[in-house]
Amino acid sequence: MENDLVTRIEGHPQYIELKAKRTRFGWWLSLAGMIAYYGFILLVAFDKPFLAQKLGNGVTTVGMPLGVAVIVFTIIITWFYVRRANREFDTLTEQIVKGVLK
């Protein structure tokens, strides 16, 4: 890519906005995913009795819904990112492409 084009895109306000928004959003969601997962793993490592404790009178334990919740949460945050990127980030990208390539 020519240096001139790179310089023009780098200074483009929408590019700066896209970069900042996507990076921040990506890191926050990654952090959320890691907290959910490592939180669960730390419970497994340090507090097994908590996970093995029964819910009500049945045999189902706290760990079961919690484990399934980590799986569902993982899927949800992935789509959460995809939806916002499809709407917001792609629009910004289109604006940048139109702005610099004419």
Binding site: I41, T74, N86
Partner: protein, 567 residues
């Protein structure tokens, strides 16, 4: 072109081989643990279904062959795969026979512990979505080295990336090939040797003639069959309990020898360091597997790349919930009926065919012999499809990275590169069969885990730092990558699963006390990349750093990205 005729002839040979192999087999029925399985009675239903799968997929290969002309077609299906299709294909690559039979078997044996593992296999995907998928698509062409080495000196980066890819592919491949041989004895009642040759030759035909297009469609079909079959089994189990998980758990606790211990974490995770280390290997290893990374180059743009991970995560997560239900279904259906499913009718002696047979026996219990055949065929088709993907990624590392970039310095035409990748495919096919036979009696349980640890410690840090950190240099990336690779392999050799179980040193003599090297080898790689890069004052380092803005613009916007078609 004689391609079609050659296809047809090879197909006929394979079918003849299938029939021959099946006919030559004597019937045996006995149990063993999965490491060494015993040959079972010939299962004609399973063989017939598998034959049908092979026929259909070879038909697709023929169709794909007509579309595979350029190097881009061969490596990336010409970039013509949609996000939804690619999501299924990625899920297919990831849902190997080991995860289907292994995790349901683990749930059957110890309940909740199986869930801990499934979660670990899944959580790498969001990280790939948020930080890697779009950037990979925007920067890449055929291999992950295109991305990792975008602004770096080509020769050292490509040599590192090809080593990282080939080592991961090799370990993953051996595990799959040995698994294929053991499975075919168990499920089809055929000889180990025939399984190796069968997988090797069919897989070679997919890759050789149909390239990425065929490899992707084989994977999609297999993913649908596996998801369909697993859904049916899970529904059948839930129906028995009026769709009440509580009722299913209650029955499982009642019949299982470990009683209510199966409802909480057990012995699988022995210490906190191992728990976190295994978690890190699974989470970051996914983002460094070459056969997964190459799938991001098969879609037309960043939007489709991101949608593919969305779908892949959804299908994989759904699949793990199914395997969990299947594992509990196996507890409630098989244990009350020991005469049918257990060695000598004694639950304590284990399942006929070994612990990984839980899902297969459950298939017979809820769907009869026909369905048992179907699930057996799916399990074998799974290995075939995964091996095809691995071979293609290995072949592209050799032809695109080593031959075209390192050896010929990019001065090579498409036809030559394509010829080299096809020769490599044949070579890798033969190597896979030979390794599969050589490792028949070895304990290969650690190999998939080792592949993940290496991917997480060598490929992932280099990819991550080169794309996201502006001061990363060629020297830093290559040094850090090799440090990660060597640390991962060395520490794994010192762990109990290799030192004691493979090298047969006395119990307790392993000098690396944890289950996974990742917690040490991943930081070692990142630290080395960082340290070497900031100390790097060479002329090349200045070029590397100066190249970052252009790389970043392309990775963020896709301007200048490969279109996937002809160039």
């Amino acid at each position: 072109m004689s391609l079609d005729r050659r296809n047809a002839r090879t197909l006929a040979r394979i079918l003849a081989l299938t029939v021959l192999a099946a006919g030559a087999v004597a019937a045996y029925a006995a149990g063993a643990d999965l490491g060494q399985t015993q040959k079972q009675a010939t299962n004609w239903t399973a063989i017939g279904m598998f034959g049908t799968f092979v026929l259909i997929t070879l038909g697709i290969t023929k169709w794909a062959a007509a579309r595979t002309k350029s190097a881009a077609d061969f490596y990336t299906a010409g970039g013509g795969i949609t996000g939804f299709q690619n999501g299924l294909a990625i899920a297919g690559d990831y849902m190997s026979a080991a995860s289907f039979l292994g995790i349901s078997g683990l749930v059957f044996a110890s309940g909740f512990d199986g869930l801990i593992f499934s979660i670990g296999w899944l959580v790498g995907w969001p990280v790939i979505t948020f930080l890697m998928a779009e950037r990979l698509r925007n920067l890449g062409k055929f291999t992950f080295a295109d991305v990792a080495g975008y602004r770096f000196a080509q020769t050292p980066t490509r040599i590192f990336a090809a080593s990282g890819s080939l080592v991961v592919v090799a370990f993953y491949m051996i595990a799959q090939m040995v698994g294929a041989g053991q499975l075919i004895k168990l499920l089809f009642g055929m000889d180990y040797l025939y399984a190796e040759i069968l997988v090797g030759s069919i897989m070679m035909m997919y890759v050789l003639f149909g390239g990425m297009t065929a490899t992707t469609w084989v994977q999609i079909i297999k993913a649908c069959m596996l998801l369909g079959g697993a859904t049916f089994m899970a529904l059948a189990v839930m129906l028995q309990f009026g769709f009440s998980p509580e009722a299913m758990f209650a029955k499982a606790v009642e019949v299982h020898s470990k009683k209510s211990a199966i409802m909480g974490p057990g012995a699988l995770i022995k210490d906190p360091v191992s728990a976190i280390s295994v978690g890190m290997a699974l989470m970051f290893g996914t983002a460094g597997l070459p056969h997964i990374l190459m799938r991001f180059f098969t879609v037309p743009n960043a939007k489709e790349a991101r949608k593919s991970v969305g779908w892949a995560t959804t299908w994989i997560g759904y699949f793990y919930i199914l395997t969990f239900i299947i594992g509990f279904g196996a507890i409630t259906n098989l244990i009350p009926n020991p005469a049918h499913y257990f060695v000598g009718g004694d639950v304590a002696k284990g399942l006929v065919g070994g612990g990984n047979m839980a899902a297969v026996h459950l298939a017979g219990a809820v769907g009869g012999n026909w369905f048992l055949g179907f699930i057996s065929a799916v399990a074998f088709a799974t290995i075939l499809a995964v091996v095809a993907g691995l071979t293609l990624s290995g072949a592209s590392a050799v032809s695109h990275d080593l031959y075209a970039s390192v050896w010929r310095h990019g001065r090579v035409d498409q036809a030559q590169e394509l010829r080299v990748s096809k020769i490599t495919t044949v070579g890798l096919g033969i190597v896979a069969v030979v390794l599969g036979i050589a490792f028949e009696k070895e304990n290969v349980a650690y190999m998939v885990m080792l592949a993940f640890v290496i991917a997480a410690s060598a490929n992932f840090p280099v990819l991550f730092m080169s794309v996201l950190w502006k001061d990363c240099t060629t020297k830093g990336a290559v040094a850090g990558g090799f440090v990660g690779l060597i640390t991962a392999v060395t520490l794994t050799i010192g762990s109990a699963s290799v030192w004691e179980k493979v090298m047969h040193y006395p119990a307790g003599s392993a000098w690396f006390p944890y289950d996974s090297a990742a917690i040490f080898s991943i930081p070692a790689a990142f630290l080395t990349i960082w340290l070497v890069s900031i100390l790097d004052r060479s002329a090349r380092a200045a070029v590397d750093r100066a190249g970052f803005p252009a790389q970043q613009v392309r990775s963020e916007t896709g301007i200048g990205a490969e279109t996937g078609g002809g160039h």
